[in-house]
C-alpha cells in the first residue's frame, strides 16, 4: 500500500462524520459539503503535519472547525435551514422517538448556545469521545461534559415548555412565548 493510497482512505473514512458535523455548523448540505471539501484539501496539503499514531479524527475535525470559525461563520447562520435540511432528508429516518418529534427536536437544538450544541452534536450525533471533542474544541474534558449535560437539560426544558404552550396559541406565538420565558 502506497503512502498516498492510505492517506486517501483515511480521509475518505472520515468524510461521512465530517459531513454530519459540517451540516450542524452551517445549517445546509451544500455549504456543509463546501466546508468539507476545503477541509479535505487542507488536510491533504498539510498531511505531513499529522503525527501518525495520534488521533486522526481530532486532527480532521479541528481543521474543519477552524475553517468554519475563520471563514464560514462570517456568513449569517441560517437557523431555519436545519429544519429544511432535515425535512427534505427525512425519507429514511423515523420522525418520532418516544415523546420527541424530529422537527421540534431540530428547533430545540437551534436554540442552544453554539458551544453546547457543538459539544452535544460531536458527542451524541457524530459519536466522538469526550477526549477527542475536548481536543477539537481546545478545552478540558470536564468542560465538554458540562456543556453536553447542560445541552441535554436545556433541550428537555425547551421541549417541555413548547408542549405546555402548544394547545392554545398558534405555533408562532408559542415560540415567542418560549423565547421570552427561556433563560
Amino acid at each position: 500500500m502506497t503512502v498516498g493510497e492510505s492517506r486517501r482512505e483515511m480521509i475518505l473514512a472520515a468524510v461521512p462524520r465530517l459531513r454530519a458535523f459540517a451540516i450542524s455548523l452551517t445549517g445546509g448540505v451544500d455549504r456543509a459539503d463546501d466546508l468539507v471539501q476545503e477541509t479535505v484539501l487542507r488536510a491533504w496539503a498539510h498531511f505531513d503535519s499529522f503525527q501518525p499514531g495520534t488521533n486522526l479524527n481530532a486532527w480532521l475535525f479541528t481543521i474543519l472547525r477552524n475553517l468554519f470559525r475563520s471563514e464560514y461563520r462570517k456568513r449569517k447562520r441560517e437557523v431555519e435551514d436545519i429544519d429544511g435540511v432535515h425535512a427534505s432528508r427525512l425519507s429514511s429516518v423515523p420522525e418520532q422517538i418516544g415523546n420527541i418529534e424530529l422537527g421540534e427536536f431540530c428547533e430545540a437544538l437551534a436554540k442552544l448556545p453554539d458551544d453546547q450544541r457543538e459539544a452535544l452534536i460531536l458527542v451524541g450525533a457524530v459519536g466522538l469521545s469526550y477526549e477527542e471533542v475536548a481536543q477539537i474544541c481546545e478545552c478540558a474534558v470536564g468542560t465538554i461534559k458540562s456543556r453536553v449535560n447542560r445541552a441535554r437539560t436545556r433541550i428537555a426544558e425547551i421541549l417541555v415548555v413548547d408542549e405546555a404552550h402548544e394547545f392554545g396559541p398558534d405555533s408562532e406565538t408559542s415560540a415567542v412565548v418560549s423565547r421570552n420565558t427561556g433563560t
Binding site: R8, L12, A20, N99, L159, V161, E163, F167
Partner: protein
C-alpha cells in the same frame, strides 16, 4: 423563574391529559434516552449515504496529482 415555568406547566396539565408526566419533569432518564436516539437519528441518513462522488473524485484527483509529481521528480 423556574418556579414560574413549573406553575405554568402544571396549570395546563389538566388540558393535556395525554401528555406524559415524565416530560414535565425535564431531563428524566427516559427523555435522556430519547434525546440520544434523536441525535443519532439526525445524522443517520448522512452516515448511511456514505461518501458522495464529489469527495471520492476529489481524493482520487489529489492522489493522482501526488503520484504524477512523484514520478516527475
Amino acid at each position: 423563574m423556574d418556579e414560574r415555568k413549573d406553575q405554568r406547566a402544571s396549570q395546563r396539565s389538566g388540558t393535556r391529559g395525554k401528555q406524559s408526566t415524565a416530560k414535565k419533569q425535564g431531563l428524566t432518564p427516559e427523555i435522556q434516552n430519547q434525546i440520544g436516539r434523536q441525535l443519532r437519528n439526525l445524522y443517520m441518513d448522512v452516515v448511511q449515504e456514505g461518501v458522495p462522488d464529489r469527495f471520492t473524485e476529489l481524493l482520487q484527483r489529489l492522489d493522482e496529482q501526488d503520484s504524477s509529481k512523484e514520478s516527475k521528480s
